[in-house]
């Protein structure tokens, strides 16, 4: 596992040098700007809007990193042939894939952690000075720890997207990988609808394809509890655990597939 760790550290370092974290500056500006703008609104609404905006931005910025860094993780090394000297070193191809994945996961972790801190900081400043009785009337407290649940699920969502991007990038070009990953992500948002396809359509082949997609594609809607958390609706520990298990199973399957494909690949 030493080899995989080395690769992971290299991926993280590359992310830093490639200025991946510059997106944090835009994120911070967006949050601070928005909080000033909506500071005029009714107390309580602004806290909700910041939560909404902060969680959506955390998800969206993370998604950009997961897809656009993810698709390049392997394909760039193959295209530029930097993989040649690397794979001649004592490292298994499966360790290379594991390392690449872990490295991007680490990048996303740092990114998400900084965004979380920024959201809580803005919420703290917004709720400061608001009388206790008004705060009691809110659906959820400003510094609601349940936000962490939504963020944890966003992170799991990103972990699955990264695995999808990595999987495609082991055998196709960055452009195609990006298209495939985005496609899977978008279809995965409507996964629940695919399950109920037989209620809308009569054609058996269409129903079969929809059902097949439902079972093969990840259900990304599972990871989205943003609305519930913002409105103070509780998210159970059981749900958190089952969703984590679901993500872990998907990631394991995708990584296994990526390793098998990459281990057999010829670098012409």
């Amino acid at each position: 596992m030493n080899a995989a760790r080395c690769v992971a550290v290299a991926v993280f370092r590359e992310s830093v040098r490639d200025r991946v974290f510059y997106n944090l500056v835009i994120f911070a500006l967006l949050l601070v700007g928005a909080s000033i703008l909506i500071g005029q609104l009714t107390a309580g609404q602004d806290v909700k809007i910041i939560k909404d905006l902060g969680l959506a931005a955390t998800s969206l910025f993370g998604l950009f990193i997961a897809i656009f860094v993810g698709i390049n993780l392997v394909s760039k090394e193959v295209e530029r042939r930097s993989v040649y000297p690397l794979l001649a070193k004592p490292i298994r191809r499966s360790e290379f894939i594991a390392g690449k994945y872990a490295g991007l996961l680490l990048t996303l972790l740092v990114n998400t952690a900084v965004m979380t801190i920024a959201i809580y900081a803005v919420l703290f400043f917004l709720s400061r000075g608001v009388p206790e009785r008004i705060q009691h009337a809110w659906e959820a407290p400003a510094m609601d720890p349940a936000l962490l649940k939504a963020i944890a699920l966003i992170y799991l969502d990103l972990a699955v997207v990264t695995a999808v991007a990595l999987f495609f990038s082991t055998y196709s070009s960055p452009m195609l990988s990006a298209a495939f990953t985005l496609g899977v992500y978008v279809v995965g948002q409507f996964n629940a609808d695919l399950k109920r396809f037989d209620q809308i359509v009569d054609s058996p082949p269409a129903i079969f394809i929809a059902k097949a997609c439902y079972y093969v594609l990840p259900d990304f809607a599972k990871f989205d509890v943003k609305l519930a958390v913002v409105h103070g609706i509780p998210v159970s520990v059981a749900y958190m655990l089952s969703t984590t298990g679901y993500a872990a199973a998907y990631v394991a399957a995708l990584l296994f597939g990526a390793m098998v494909i990459f281990s057999r690949r010829d670098f012409k």
Partner: protein
């Protein structure tokens, strides 16, 4: 004795074409043995299968059939990779890393402890002539400097077997000299070097054994002295101040005589032309020797001829029992 490198009937087909892929044979039943301590030149024109062979040995591509071993282990064995070094053709590394960081990354993969890693990186970069540049990002490196970094990463782990794909490519004369010195130093330390090149003078200066590939097939192999057909094909004398009477007698014995300056003559003698006797005679007549050289077929000539033979589909006459080379065996030695 176990061969440092051994291939048997190693074959690689690529599939070309999108709709109807057709197999294209990049390497055809290559069998070679390289003995430990040899400097083995793997020669051939572009597209001959040199890089494919190296990629097969590094298991960057998988063989269609046949086998390859390094240090008695199958090619691709992770353990054996600790003991080898590899420089790809036109190496490319990571833009965002410095030379030092790149070697640090690779050193970690070799499991080198931090202190030893730092010491080795510094010594290796010194040895390859990468000094102040080592702290620059690799994207700012010239092709020649990248080649030096490539060599540095290949020798970082002090490998027993070194694989170099066109190591001289992109280097200026100084760079070539440094690479040659590095290879000779490695050879003197008993390391095995397998290098591909289409530059024949490199092989002439360095190799104890060579193999020539053309169109994916082994066209010739053996000790350089055997291949070059070192048997003298004639003699070339350059003389000055030859008296006219001697010159007439000379013309009868020589293959050719021609004037190059006022009274300077080039005299070409047949292989049995006994230049010693002639020299004595001419010296007695007051002529002066400028130079005396044996005439041999050069590696270039062998190269062109063998490649042409393979191109015509003729079975190459290697003087060996089959397209198999046993290097460094009985009677093997450096030229």
């Amino acid at each position: 004795m176990t061969s440092a490198i051994r291939t048997r009937e190693l074959t690689k087909d690529y599939h070309v074409g999108f709709w109807r892929p057709r197999p294209y044979r990049a390497l055809d039943r290559l069998s070679i043995d390289v003995a430990p301590g040899d400097v083995f030149g793997f020669l051939g024109p572009n597209g001959a299968g040199k890089t494919t062979t190296l990629k097969l040995l590094m298991q960057l591509v998988f063989p269609t059939s046949g086998e390859a071993e390094i240090l008695g282990r199958p090619a691709g064995d992770v353990g054996v990779r600790r003991r080898i070094g590899y420089l790809p053709e036109n190496p490319y590394f990571y833009d965002h890393l410095t030379a030092e960081e790149l070697l640090g990354y690779y050193g970690q993969l070799f499991g080198m402890p931090p202190a030893e890693r730092r010491r080795r990186i510094s010594a290796t970069l010194d040895r390859l002539g990468v000094f102040a540049e080592r702290r620059l990002a690799l994207r700012k490196f010239s092709k020649g400097m990248l080649q030096r970094v490539g060599l540095a990463q290949a020798v970082l782990n002090d490998p027993e077997v070194l694989f170099l794909d066109e190591p001289m490519s992109g280097l200026d004369p100084l760079g070539r000299r440094d690479v040659r010195a590095l290879m000779l130093e490695m050879r003197d330390q008993g390391r095995t070097i397998f290098f591909s090149s289409h530059i024949l003078s490199d092989a002439e200066a360095l190799c104890s054994q060579v193999a020539i590939v053309a169109s994916g097939r082994l066209a010739a192999a053996g000790r350089l002295t055997d291949l070059q057909e070192f048997a003298v094909k004639g003699w070339e004398l350059v003389m000055a101040g030859v008296p006219p009477a001697s010159l007439e007698r000379l013309r009868a014995r020589a293959v050719r005589v021609h004037t190059i300056a006022d009274d300077h003559y080039v005299i070409e003698l047949p292989p049995d032309g006994a230049p010693e006797e002639l020299l004595r005679e001419l010296a007695g007549a007051g002529a002066k020797l400028i130079s005396l050289n044996p005439l041999r077929e050069t590696l270039e000539d062998v190269f062109v001829r063998r490649v042409a033979e393979v191109g015509e589909g003729a079975r190459p006459s290697t003087g060996l029992p089959s397209t198999e080379l046993r290097a460094g065996g009985a009677g093997g030695g450096r030229p």
